[in-house]
Subunit: 276 residues, 2 copies
């Protein structure tokens, strides 16, 4: 049995979201237990409770030996504000857990990976359980919790360490005290709702700061807003341009993103064979 604690380090979910996941788990994954921390439903302006409430919710999940995994309920924005403090207060129980989320929750995955705490993984989140299409992405994570690796990103080879991040999340955490060493990693990046010029700008920032990567893969770039003028380069041209300038091998696409086909990417060396 995998006993999964759910908290919301960024923005809140509703009771409907929670009920949808509970139903899915009860019907299809009877070997799992999911526990929603009350903090998931708290609200303070933009956030799922203020910084202290979100930090407390996360630590109560991570530090409780009853749980095997911590699953972040939703992204949005805000996990960066508590990531450093959270990692500093994690105990021995926290160090043996699996942590899953993506998008804004990448700040936490990064901080955990840097600190060597447990196994972090990029993967879809409970908030997606309420939609028909999102549910399949959620199933991939639930299967992975059960030792079924069919939902892993297909390019993972089990030999080269990998990492997956939302582009703006990685850009913003790069060079902060949360940033792990990604030297030698295959880095996968995805983005949603950003203009192409902003994508280009983020690659500029990363090209100036990233270590020697094994290579870069471009995930889905979705919901790009229309601008007053066409940018003139497509998303893959942008990625290639900056990889060329930075001397990073461009390896093609990755199956990650704000889409139902978002796959699981364990951070580091965990590959198809023995994850979780």
């Amino acid at each position: 049995m995998t006993n999964i604690a759910i908290c919301a380090p960024a923005t809140p979910i509703t009771r409907d979201h929670a009920a949808a996941l509970e139903t899915l788990v009860a019907e299809e994954f009877p070997g799992h237990r999911v526990h929603f921390h009350e903090q998931c439903f708290a609200r303070a302006g933009h956030f799922a409770g203020d910084d202290l409430a979100r930090l407390t919710g996360l630590l109560e999940c991570a530090n409780d030996p009853a749980f095997d995994a911590v699953w972040f309920a939703k992204g949005g924005y805000g996990s960066n504000r508590i990531a450093e403090a959270a990692v500093a207060q994690m105990n021995a129980s926290a160090r043996s857990k699996t942590y899953v989320g993506f998008s804004d929750c990448g700040y936490l995955l990064a901080a955990l990976y840097r600190a060597g705490i447990g196994q972090s993984a990029h993967g879809s989140m409970p908030v997606s359980a309420r939609s028909q299409r999102g549910r399949e992405a959620v199933r991939r994570v639930l299967r992975w919790f059960a030792g079924d690796n069919s939902g892993l990103e297909p390019s993972l080879d089990g030999v080269t360490p990998a990492a997956a991040f939302n582009l703006i999340t990685l850009t913003m955490l790069s060079k902060t005290p949360l940033m792990p060493d990604l030297s030698g990693h295959v880095l996968m990046v995805e983005e949603v709702s950003e203009h192409l010029y902003a994508i280009d700008r983020m690659f500029f920032a990363l090209a100036g700061t990233l270590p020697r990567l094994a290579g870069l893969r471009l995930g889905a770039i979705t919901d790009v807003p229309e601008n007053y003028v066409a940018f003139g380069q497509g998303e893959e041209e942008i990625a290639r341009y900056w990889c060329d300038r930075a001397g990073i091998p461009y390896l093609g696409r990755a199956e990650i993103g704000h889409t139902p086909s978002n796959r699981v990417v364990p951070l580091g060396l965990a590959g198809p064979a023995g994850a979780a």
Copy 2:
């Protein structure tokens, strides 16, 4: 006489913009000459010509001993792509010039300041000469070119080095090879058309990377889009929160921004007394 060359390192202007500035200069600043490089009107997708065209336009202005100053026509996005190459190819004439612009052109101001080339200054740009309200901001720069310091940002004391940047521009260039050492500086930041959560996120990124500043001043935060939920903190609360976390003295507001009251901020020690 100040002989001013104008180029567009980011996005293009139109002939109407140029004519409006030429009329303003002819009528009110007969001691100045303005020369628009043809590259100002070039178009390649988002940009005022491709990278090579923009780089060439900038270098022809900067390296020509006939000009005293280089004024960037407009921001938008794109000067980051040519800034490193431009600085590397500047000659002795370029080193005695004044450079003015802001917003996206902050990448160039940063790179020039880091390289010790000429005198860079945050200031309004020729693109604003066509509107009644923008024209006054343009006049401030033209007066400053003539040695009249009445348009300088009023908190400048001539003793503490200062710098002014657009927030996302600074965030993206921070830790790239363009970034100057801002230790001991009063840093002024402004932003336009960004959500408050994005402002918060940029302060997070900067707080994790900035050197020991003398202090931070918050410029205008304008055209903030409405979000699905109120952020819960105002712009000044956000600035104070991150300054507190980073140990940076928060010094109050600055009169810079994407507004007609945008003032001139020479980068470094140039104060009210002897600029330009």
